[in-house]
Symmetry: C2
């Protein structure tokens, strides 16, 4: 009798770019009872390996040991904060950034953990924003196009340098010995799940979105051989058992039980991509509800009932968000990253001082100064390509552009132009969907940047649609917990769990008609600049980058 009234809980763990966070939520309504964050000790490795050689431009690595620390530190801390009995936890779920991918031995040991390979950069996990494999991605696109590979159109006609294949080809070409030593080539989320339950699985979402698996098949050995004679060897490194989202990967091992403070045998959900589990947390699993996860980069996710080929969209995968629907993903490579770059590299000292004096962040100061600017009053227009373009151009060797500068241009004006540029970039994606008949019925924004009310107002105005914001402190981790609840059999499937446990709307931003009309005109300017610099009007951005890379090598 007591058993029946006892509440049940789910644990979700979200592995971000700089830190991991764990939440404990109630299985019946998703309410968060406790959480904890743990920053990665090594953060993102961009300049050099720990005590090791320096890294070239465009590199971004992580240390897998930092991920295990999150399991050891943040999960017990979240359980303690929630004050729940670990025996009442029905399951634990994990999501991570993607495509973050690493080479391991057959038992899952990361190659970078082997003393002999520790100073070999290619032995380390390559973070999603490692962009050095663009030459490989270009060749993959050229060869796939020439051969008429049937899956290419599912990725908008271009695959990304961020994905498994480009990074694997980079590894093979740059360090064939590490490629040969790698027995597995696996997504970070799947690797963490493997560490938790002792059994390797591959979630169908990452296999589809980042591994190019379509209609039950990986890219063919013939295609891979056309890229490099040894590349077909990759297939044996990624052939781990596929598993659907919300599935049970296994039970917690005794070792992982020791790390987390959960009982051994606790169900472990199949791994998942951070933005995709957020769709469940934001109740955006239903058809036509687009979710924009606004963070360092932006991911746009939506379920639809059919498979359309959307030019320049990152991918469409059957069951990629929930079984029975086609999941579409699109994205923007740099969003919060660009804002952080601006504050770090271009904010005048007097602004930083002023923010400090007023006890607010530089972001809040800039927002407050930019908030009342009339649309177009700064005379500026920016292209949000500081980190390349993931959609719809799928080209990580593009770079940012800023036009309209005058001697009267103020910092808060550049700031607003950067916020707007990312909103224009999001509109490019939404229009790519609607242009091919994939209706976007509703828009919801989640992610760290939803604390920025000016940004959300600009997005509503630029996109000309209401923008919902879910009331969840840690939406990705909540999404992982929803998957954990399904893996633990508390719900039959992800859509049902999402409706029950997903967050209600905290707020809805409605577009202002006058501002939206003005932004329609500025968007036309953005689109023209976008096409000029990104679609062959000029190739100057590529040439500047190639020259930079040569100069820095020289």
């Amino acid at each position: 009798m007591v058993q029946r009234n006892r509440r049940r809980y789910a644990v979700g763990v979200d592995f971000g770019t700089l830190s991991g966070r764990a939440v404990v939520v109630a299985v019946d309504d998703g309410a968060e009872l406790g959480s904890a964050v743990h920053a990665y000790r090594h953060g993102v490795l961009t300049d050099r390996l720990p005590d090791g050689p320096s890294l070239p431009p465009d590199w971004a690595l992580q240390d897998p040991a930092d991920h295990l620390d999150v399991l050891r530190v943040a999960v017990p801390a979240a359980l303690a904060a929630a004050g729940v009995d670990p025996r009442d936890v029905v399951g634990v779920g994990v999501d991570a950034t993607s495509c973050t991918v690493l080479p391991t031995l057959a038992d899952g040991t990361p190659l970078c953990a082997l003393p002999a390979l520790r100073d070999r950069p290619h032995a380390w996990p390559k973070l999603w924003k490692h962009h050095a494999a663009q030459p490989q991605a270009d060749r993959i696109n050229a060869v796939a196009g020439d051969r008429g590979e049937p899956w290419l159109a599912r990725y908008g006609g271009r695959v990304s340098a961020e994905w498994q294949l480009a990074k694997a080809l980079e590894l093979l070409e740059a360090d064939p010995e590490v490629f040969d030593t790698a027995q597995r080539w696996i997504e970070a989320a799947d690797w963490i799940v493997w560490r938790l339950c002792g059994r390797e699985t591959r979630n169908i979402s990452a296999a589809g979105f980042k591994g190019l698996r379509q209609d039950g098949r990986d890219p063919s050995p013939e295609f891979l051989a056309a890229l490099h004679p040894a590349l077909p060897g990759l297939l044996a490194k990624v052939d781990g058992p596929l598993a659907p989202l919300g599935g049970r990967a296994g039970g917690l091992t005794a070792e992982a039980a020791g790390w987390t403070g959960l009982p051994a045998g606790t169900p472990v959900a199949v791994g998942a991509i951070d933005a995709h589990v957020t769709a469940a947390a934001a109740r955006c699993v239903a058809l036509g509800r687009m979710l924009a996860v606004l963070g360092t980069s932006t991911c746009l996710i939506m379920n639809a009932d059919a498979c359309h080929e959307v030019p320049g969209v990152c991918g469409v995968v059957d069951g990629g968000v929930s079984a029975g629907s086609w999941a579409y993903e699109a994205g923007q490579s740099g969003v919060g990253d660009i804002f952080a770059w601006y504050v770090e590299q271009a904010l005048p000292g007097r602004y930083a001082d002023d923010a400090r004096r007023r006890g607010i962040t530089p972001y809040e100061l800039l927002d407050s100064l930019a908030a009342d600017q009339p649309v177009g009053g700064h005379g500026l227009l920016a292209l949000d390509w500081h980190s390349g373009n993931r959609s719809v151009l799928m080209d990580h060797e593009l770079s940012g552009v800023l036009v309209g500068l005058t001697l009267a241009t103020r910092p808060e004006e550049i700031w607003r132009a950067l916020l707007e540029a990312t909103a224009f970039g999001a509109r490019i994606v939404v229009e790519a969907f609607t242009a091919v008949g994939v209706p976007v019925r509703e828009l919801t924004a989640a992610g760290g940047l939803t604390t920025n009310r000016l940004l959300l107002r600009i997005y509503a105005d630029v996109l000309g649609r209401p923008l919902h914001v879910p009331d969840a402190a840690h939406p990705a981790a909540l999404g992982a917990a929803i998957h954990a609840a399904v893996a633990g059999a508390a719900y039959p499937d992800v859509p049902t769990a999402s409706e029950a446990m997903g967050a209600p709307h905290r707020e809805t931003f409605h577009p202002d008609p006058a501002r939206a009309a003005a932004y329609d005109e500025l968007y036309a300017e953005y689109r023209a600049l976008h096409d000029h610099f990104g679609r062959g009007g000029t190739d100057v951005l590529h040439r500047l980058r190639a020259r930079r890379n040569r100069a820095l090598r020289g």
Copy 2:
């Protein structure tokens, strides 16, 4: 006998954008014996009149009382510093920024000094960089082109919004009452000379370069009437007696003698344009010696033996630098202004702190960090149009562009890209000369920015030529003093005085072949971007500015 060994001196006074400076030099060799600077109390009025109404975007005014303060403060101070007997001064010369122009009564009283007109923005002197008359300049160009005005080709086919006619038409259209009240419409340098000697003169250099006077004629009344029925009335406001450079405008009045500490009757040289007198100071009066005066803006000056029509060059005027030669002027609207904008609006606080800690300026810090970057290593390219483009596009409604930004872009990289952009802009001008057969035999740089060695090295590399730097602390003021010596009959003409009194080379920067070759390629990229944004590839910069102006009015 004692008389014969007594040294003689000349006084030069240079009226810049933010301050005026006076020098006392020896007549025999131009050696500087004393100098003094006086900053204008009101600086540049861009936001509002003193205790008056606010000003629209693109405005820049000065207070003529500030100019007289320089005569009262800096001239006596320079004489005192030199320790010379004022009776040994053979003459005083004046130069000023141009086209800085003001409306006055028939006796020279500035209209803004009249209490009834003090709050009328159009009654004030419009500084050279007042850019609000661009619509008027556009119409002047269109009408002159339609009518086939013969003088138009002497100005590269486009007149500037900075010049007398555009500013006069702006005055007439915006405040006809002030236009009617103005009995004279006069360059600042000529007005100061008038204050000194009590007699109005008009130097032929400004009359030609800024007043469109060619072949002994002002623009015709018919042409002016085609712009506005009342505009022919301007001719009677500018018909003051013309005078050649180095001529004697008159003798110092008793009042001006009281201001300056010089004897009444001391010869006063005809007024001149700052950059043009600098040519004399830098010994660049000889044919084919181009002088680049690098300051808030850049002026490029050269004498040649014939009149060619150089597309997009600011002007060619018979006797505009010295009698008997054709003077060519070209320029860049924003140079030091752009660097100052960057330091003011985009330099991170930690850089400012670091500079303070090391006891150097932010400019020096940025230069030191940028100095060793390999050419193209930043991956950036900028258009130096923050203050519009004076040559060869002659369009003050253009604006700055920055392309190639990445999340790894550092402040010193943007800094270097801005320095380089102004060098590319200078090369555009030099190539416009050589393209029509006006040979540029030698290059010399003067102006405030010649303290920046990195900038000079970049100019030598980008232009692919040796760059001489004269050894003069105050070259414009020295040039004014050279004119004073000619007015005082110490020399027969400006070329002779320039050879005797002009400064020797302090240093010559030679191009590095490898860097010059790399810059050749980057210059091709600059040129393509320049033509795309400035020559009709896209009109987006104009549309953004028009939208900004509408939004700020609205």
